[in-house]
Symmetry: C2
Subunit: 687 residues, 2 copies
């Protein structure tokens, strides 16, 4: 599955439309994660003989939903029924499960509105307005550099967001940095912070083939689910929604994917790519692989562990596949040669432009500085839900006492409601899982920092990673949302008076974390933002302004077509059928059939299109995005890319990159036959 | 610790003395793992004002011991007392431990000869003769290529070995490929297949600081132990031994390390290095990290698991540190620039030599072919002791039925005694640990081959990695050495008649393994051997014949000196003292003091030199090597390199690379005060 959660720390990178087109003979017709105010209608018209008009785009935009858990989705009824992926609601199923009733295993069907279940931490957001605030932010930055630049930028952003969203219960304002600092846009969202679970198939129906089949195709996955947005305890009446169209996709027909790609790095400079290949990816793959191993074994210890660890393991395995795919891409000389050629082309085209200067050299120097800061910055805190609560409480207490413009980004007036919701929503905590993550992350901190590093001593004192984790997890009361609320409301005085060991630990780490962020802002984030603005100017000058920015977990539209590909000489057909599942099943995990699905074998129409692939350009964060046809009706939900799409973080390959979609036809079959939900069938069919 | 076990599949690589000297201003005075017939006495004389004479070299050579477990060692008494590392006898301690008596935890002191305990699978070997057989082997190869080349070479080697060692109970003959095919030498060993445990400290005394301190210095490790070679039930009377000298090392004094470095790749061509960096290392680090995680968690489940898994975990963590260090080295542009310059220099010097041709292009083509064979070849079998028994039994049955010259290398007349000993020696098997390794390796096979690969189907059928592993491990009787003996003696008929599921499984995999080996020989090993001979000729032509070959787990001598280094501006002193241990101890694993060591705190002379570093050029396989002074007396046992030595696989850096040694002074203090062994003290002191 494409990753649910986009990186929260993407540091300014910028991108370029038709990146490869300048250096290769292949026209990358379908490349691009376009902003709605920059849709290349003329280009699509030229390539496809058709392009959507403004009304089409407006309806689609108003129907598109962002889920703050890190996914995309869409309204599919006038009562705020939301289509998304199963893997986007897995946390909700998990949080609502008990030892007696495992919703992941058995699936979930709400018989009535009353039975729909709240999803902790989840919020649905719909873009209502996009405004260009580039002038304001750039003016605030002026000639500042380093940390002064990031401070001034963040202060101005906080100010703009606060001024434009006074009703933070219903609206969320977010200034987004595009083109790595070339543009700043204010997105206003109508938000719905009460999101409930409506319908989900058995987990195995969505995860059939498990990690081995993840990012592969042909695929047999029912990775779809339904949620509903509520307000004031009632379903929201949606202003716009997509028409549900449970039909078979046609070869080569045009498809649109509308959603929130999380993060791409397509215009990283070569020094940033070298850093990825040489530093970040190797550490990430090695350490996540170890976590994977610890989890796999721990989950074999009992059925409870198996259930409680599944959500984290799925996320870890998914991320690992992504990072391993990226490593392969950056170790492929043909792939990196194209990236190098693109940089060389831009440099050549900018050589005579004195305004541009040498932003590449500035990035090189920033990356060089970041090489020494990276390990300490990466390991300034342990992992784990309980620790993250403590850190949010400690940071929040200090930050909220400051004027809005001086706070860290997660604690500004516009960001606080979601931070608070994530902190205070009731959700189960499994102490063994927190202990496992803490011990793992602290032992990796010691491994990469070294035993004698002052930061290792700060993190561990004289304790072992295992001993410290056990003491903190056993001793803390932060699993209790009432206690969290009490500390949050009590502010800094309550935090400092608390004898909770996890709070005391987070307090102990706080100063070092702030100092490190300051250093990174000064030596890396600031310079890269400054250079990013210049690089964006260089691109606009060289290639015109019909470009798409790197992904930022904001709304984009991609166009493409239904199309298979050729794998080592063999044609991969564009679709699978539901019946194929029974042929692929072996009985052994993860190729075992889910029991209700298996029980309905004779009733299922085996010819129904199950999953299909398109050439749309997507990435993690797009999970759950509606796949829309020319008529504007929804014919599927994007849930994955093929294995070749993993290099898509750095560049799109039109020959091999594919989006993987679960068809509305398959979901309709499931709603009617396997996991019957006549109430939802009726709601979807309403005109 | 430097790795105990050298790679068993090192494919022809060659090396070059003074590799960097040709491209850098630093004279690498101390680089080199020299063969005894090629010791550069003149060069050492020039650098040190002293060099050993032939008598000195002869005595040292006759005292040097190779341990077939993958370590080095030396005789230190006339009754075959052997000095080596604790980590080289850990398997023996582990195999002789029971739930009631954990020899790893408590250490071991044999009060009398009668109490000395046999080490399963272990054999001690002393070189008695080295002969050049290059002409014979090259003549047999003639103009052959590909698999025909490797077959002819292996047949000739089998013939030479069989002809020269008729008494295989006492002698072992081994033809070694040096300079990647440039030279072939016949090593004759006097062998002792009954090796017993004499004295070992507590495991924590040797592993104090555990994985975090591994490959680091300053260090506080008592990584020494004593074994004894037996024959006919009695201690062997040694022809030569080193004089035990428990004294303090002096700054800058000359030191010699005599042992068996396992494997280096210093003369890999750039395409081979690229393969390492792009393919082999990333897969190795990711998959071993996962195994590490599975083991860490499994060992937390019970004290039995903690004890039974320790040996494997130590090995995995040690290997991981090595591979991560190599990854760093190959991702360091300054380091790889030197390697590239060395290749360019050799190419330039060989340009006018028509005899050489273009062996680099031949290696490039072989590596390109190997890229597609590597994953299937790597994953042609699962891991685990029980499976490895089955594979040896199945392969052995077929191979032994063939004429000697047609057998696979591990099954020739000269190789069979050790193969048989390893297979038939009684050693404990822990089913959970075998299951864990099998399930891990099979799931990695499926991950890297892909679910739909025919080899995945061969390995798994319709079973899951977990289900298959459980079925085979639970069903097999191969843990019983009597049953193994029965099948070994019964030959192919017994194998084919066996209903043992592990045997049946190994039989099922056999044909595919042979076919893959054939393909690898044809496309990679053959061409690389052919090119290796040319590259060796090129080097001899360009730089003269005073070169040392890449390491091959055969006897070498390195000279250097006692010397610290400068780490980020700080001087690292060349030695630690035993008292320093008490300051570094935190009480938390792995910085907890071993109990007997802690109990003797007041009695221990804290000023005694504990560990020290030298500039000697060593690598995994050198573990346990005696560190010898000019007088020919032993002043320590090498047990590790510092973190900078990890790039040493590809090139030696005289500024930073260091060998880490446990001093004889510390061992003497331990023998007298902490783990008292007056019998051994007396034996060591005898003149």
């Amino acid at each position: 599955m494409i990753a649910r959660t986009p990186s929260l720390h993407a540091v300014g990178a910028a991108t370029l439309a038709l990146l490869f087109a300048t250096t290769s003979t292949i026209a990358h017709a379908d490349e691009g994660m376009w902003t709605f105010d920059g849709f290349p209608a003329e280009k699509m018209q030229a390539d496809y003989g058709w392009a959507p008009d403004q009304a089409w785009l407006d309806t689609v935009r108003a129907s598109a939903v962002r889920l703050t858990g890190g996914c995309s989705a869409s309204f599919v009824s006038d009562a705020a029924l939301i289509l998304t992926n199963h893997h986007c609601v897995a946390s909700c199923l998990y949080d609502n499960s008990t030892g007696d009733n495992d919703l992941l295993e058995h699936g979930f069907i709400a018989a009535s509105l009353r039975d729909e279940k709240k999803c902790p931490g989840q919020q649905a957001e719909v873009v209502t307005k996009i405004e260009d605030v580039t002038g304001d932010v750039k003016a605030a930055i002026g000639a500042l550099t380093g940390e002064a630049l990031t401070k001034a930028r963040d202060a101005k952003i906080a100010e703009i967001e606060a001024a434009n969203c006074t009703d933070t219960a219903k609206f969320r304002c977010q200034v987004v940095t595009l083109f790595g600092g070339g543009q700043y846009k204010l997105y206003t969202y109508r938000k719905y912070s009460d999101v409930r679970l409506v319908w989900s198939p058995e987990d195995r129906a969505a995860t059939f083939g498990g990690d081995p089949d993840n990012f592969n195709f042909p695929r047999y996955s029912l990775d779809g689910s339904f949620l509903r947005a509520y307000e004031d305890g009632k379903p929201v009446k949606t202003r716009a929604h997509l028409t549900w169209n449970p039909r078979t996709p046609q070869a080569d027909e045009a498809t649109f994917v509308v959603g929130n790609p999380g993060s791409t790095s397509r215009l990283y400079t070569l020094s940033q790519l070298a850093f990825e290949r040489e530093v970040r990816l190797p550490i990430t793959v090695a350490t996540l692989s170890e976590l994977r191993g610890r989890l796999i074994r721990a989950m074999e210890e009992s059925p409870e562990h198996a259930r409680e660890g599944l959500d984290l393991l799925s996320g870890v395995e998914n991320s690992l596949k992504v990072y391993i795919g990226r490593t392969k891409a950056l170790n492929d000389p043909a792939f990196t040669a194209k990236l190098a050629a693109a940089e060389a082309d831009l440099k050549a085209k900018s050589a005579s432009n004195a305004e541009i200067g040498d932003p590449w050299a500035q990035v090189d120097a920033a990356v060089e500085a970041y090489r020494t800061l990276y390990i300490p910055y990466r390991y300034d805190a342990p992992s784990g839900t309980l620790y993250s609560y403590a850190q949010a409480l400690v940071m929040g207490a200090t930050e909220r006492a400051k004027p809005n413009a001086e706070r860290l980004p997660g604690y500004t007036d516009s960001a606080l409601p979601l931070t608070e919701k994530r902190l205070l929503d009731e959700a189960p905590v499994y102490p063994w899982l927190d202990e496992l993550q803490m011990a793992w992350s602290l032992s990796k901190a010691r491994e990469y920092l070294g035993v004698d590093d002052p930061q290792t001593r700060l993190l561990l004192g004289k304790e072992s990673p295992e001993g410290l984790s056990e003491r903190l997890v056993t001793g803390t009361k932060l699993a209790d949302p009432t206690y969290r609320k009490q500390l949050w409301d009590g502010g800094l005085a309550a935090i400092e008076a608390s004898d909770d060991p996890m709070i005391q630990y987070a307090l102990k780490l706080d100063a070092n974390q702030r100092a490190l962020k300051q250093k990174v802002d000064e030596a890396y984030a600031g310079p890269v933002t400054q250079a990013g603005a210049k690089l964006a100017d260089a691109r606009f000058d060289a290639y015109g302004d019909s470009l798409y920015p790197d992904a930022t977990f904001t709304l984009r539209i991609s166009y493409g077509r239904v199309k298979g590909w050729t794998e080592r000489g063999n044609e991969v057909p564009f679709q699978t059928t539901m019946g194929g599942t029974f042929e692929r099943a072996t009985g052994a995990e993860p190729f075992d059939l889910p029991s209700q699905f298996a029980a309905k074998e004779s009733a299922i129409d085996k010819a129904v299109t199950y999953d299909f692939v398109t050439t749309n350009d997507i990435i993690g964060g797009n999970s759950g995005s509606p796949v829309i046809d020319k008529a504007g009706t929804v014919i599927g939900a994007a849930f994955d890319g093929n294995i070749h799409s993993l290099g898509g973080n750095y560049g799109y390959d039109p020959v091999l990159n594919r989006t993987v979609v679960v068809s509305t036809a398959a979901l309709q079959e499931a709603l009617e036959t396997i996991y019957p939900a006549p109430r939802i069938v009726k709601e979807l069919a309403a005109k």
